[in-house]
């Protein structure tokens, strides 16, 4: 069972032997993730934070490297993170902010992850290249695999709006990920991929529980009070008070 909340992730770290500094690093990464991914959801309707926590939990289980676990928490920071000013903030400023919080090693993983977004599409080429890759490069591939695996945990992918389409691709996806895990030399990960995808195969589709809107990618829901202007809300409130006082007058 992998963590889906920060509490479960912290408990997982606590049960393995971690240094105090490593715990502080993971907590800082999580706190930044909360700010960057506020109000963000996966296409299945699951919170984005649960997804990044799950990815970090898988990485911690497989690798146990704190910088990589922290990178798992922030892996989509550059693609999905809200750094303010409606996305008009420079890449340099974003990376500076990440380095300030989690350090250069974790930021390098996140940057490398973002630089190769379509890495999982060119599988044959990737499999050939893995042997020549540096250790960091291989770890980034592991990050991609953990990200994909997390989406399939508990059959999560089968609650997306286009669940049937995802279901058709399950076998091919499983084969690819399993192959990559084998190339990366992680038999534990390979076993986990087989288990998770086997669960997905047996899970029936429930049309009542599918995501209502067609959301192919992660989406953000802004809090209502951020959507409406404060003036409009104050006007509404004033109208309500007036209406109530009129009603009171009438009843009196």
């Amino acid at each position: 069972m992998y963590a889906q909340t920060n509490i479960q992730l912290y408990n997982q770290l606590g049960h393995s032997e971690c240094l105090h500094g490593d715990l502080a690093l993971v907590r800082s990464a999580y706190e930044l993730a909360v700010r960057l991914f506020a109000g963000l959801y996966r296409p299945s309707g699951k919170t984005f934070l649960s997804h990044v926590v799950g990815t970090a939990s898988i990485l911690h289980e497989i690798k146990g490297k704190p910088a990589l676990t922290a990178a798992g928490l922030l892996h989509s920071a550059y693609t999905h993170g809200d750094f303010g000013f409606a996305g008009r903030i420079s890449t340099r400023a974003r990376s500076k902010r990440l380095i300030e919080v989690v350090g250069t090693e974790t930021e390098a993983y996140v940057r490398m992850y973002t630089e190769h977004p379509r890495i999982m599409c060119h599988t044959d080429e990737l499999q050939e290249r893995i042997d020549e890759m540096t250790l960091a490069g291989r770890e980034v591939v592991l990050l991609h695999v953990a990200n994909e695996l997390e989406d399939h945990l508990n059959g999560g992918i089968l609650y997306c709006h286009n669940a049937a389409k995802h279901r058709d691709k399950l076998a091919a996806r499983c084969e690819l990920l399993s192959c990559l895990a084998c190339k990366l030399g992680s038999t534990v990960l390979q076993r986990e991929i087989d288990r998770v995808f086997a669960e997905c195969h047996t899970q029936p589709l429930a049309p009542e529980l599918l995501q209502r809107m067609a959301r192919p990618v992660s989406y953000r829901i802004l809090p209502e009070s951020c959507r409406r202007s404060a003036w409009l809300s104050a006007y509404d409130m004033m109208r309500q008070v007036l209406r109530r006082s009129e009603e009171m007058k009438r009843t009196a």
Binding site: T5, H15, G39, S50, R212, I221, S233
Partner: protein
């Protein structure tokens, strides 16, 4: 090296520490299908979940956990205790009148809010949510409820069950210990923990009562590394406003300030130029 300290058996900490109950929509939906809710009930609960994602968007517990995880956990506990679908749906919105963001900058029960929730989840489920909001859950209120438990109507007994599920959920994975004011909260549970356990027993939920007892004991007898404790000053759940919305709010203020400074500079320049001309 860091290890969590638990004075009870390692088995217990693992059971409380790992997910016993759902924390995500995906886990909850899987559980609901296993628990045998029929199609219309599943549809109602899923609709309520998607409404909750809107009303609790960007809301975070003081421990840093998503608020959505808390309401999903509460619904999961209710489902595990064979609660009717309406009560499970109410579990997903149980504190919506106090913490939900309706865009009206309020935190109380209002007619318009009630209407909105009633339209979304139906009259029956809204009654649970409403009664949960108006019942007092502070020390005096809790004692009063405990004393009158055998006399209160069935609807209110279910609301008490909702409250007990909410309390058990807060102990999942020792969450209380991750709060900044954990000592104060532990004192509360030392005093009222046995009361909650007995209330669950009196309502006829012996498994829930046992779990509450174990969870409260585990929380009181365990410690966690200080590095993992929340550093924020929030005592209750709070809205983590997305950065873009923050800049949207501060941008007009910044622009107005810069305009005022420019105007002042212009005036000063004109004044200086005027004096020089007059002097010349």
């Amino acid at each position: 090296m860091v290890r969590f300290v638990c004075y009870r058996s390692a088995q217990l900490i693992n059971r409380v520490g790992t997910a016993m109950y759902a924390q995500t929509s995906v886990q909850l939906f899987n559980q609901l299908q296993r628990d045998g809710y029929h199609s219309a009930e599943l549809r109602l609960i899923a609709d309520v979940y998607f409404l909750a994602t809107r009303l609790f968007a960007a809301r975070v517990e003081p421990s840093g956990r998503c608020f959505i995880s808390h309401v999903v956990g509460t619904a999961s506990i209710l489902s595990a205790n064979a609660a009717p679908a309406e009560l499970v749906a109410a579990g997903l919105l149980h504190n919506v009148y106090c913490t939900g963001d309706f865009g009206d900058y309020r935190n109380s029960v209002t007619d318009s809010r009630r209407r909105q929730i009633r339209n979304a989840i139906g009259d029956g489920a809204e009654q649970y949510v409403y009664r949960f909001a108006i019942r007092r859950w502070n020390a005096a209120g809790l004692r009063e409820t405990y004393e009158q438990l055998s006399e209160i109507p069935e609807l209110d007994r279910r609301v008490v069950l909702l409250y007990l599920a909410d309390q058990l959920e807060k102990h999942q994975g020792l969450e209380i210990l991750y709060f900044r004011d954990h000592e104060q909260r532990c004192r509360y549970y030392r005093e009222f923990g046995p009361l909650l356990v007995d209330m669950a027993r009196q309502l006829g939920y012996s498994a829930l009562s046992q779990q509450l007892h174990e969870a409260v004991q585990a929380t009181l007898e365990s410690t966690i590394p200080a590095e993992l404790r929340s550093q924020n000053s929030h005592r209750f759940s709070y809205l983590c406003i997305p950065e873009s919305c923050q800049s949207k709010r501060t941008m007009p203020a910044l622009l107005a300030a810069s305009r005022r400074i420019r105007r002042m500079l212009g005036k000063t320049r004109r004044l200086v130029v005027g004096r020089t001309v007059a002097g010349g």
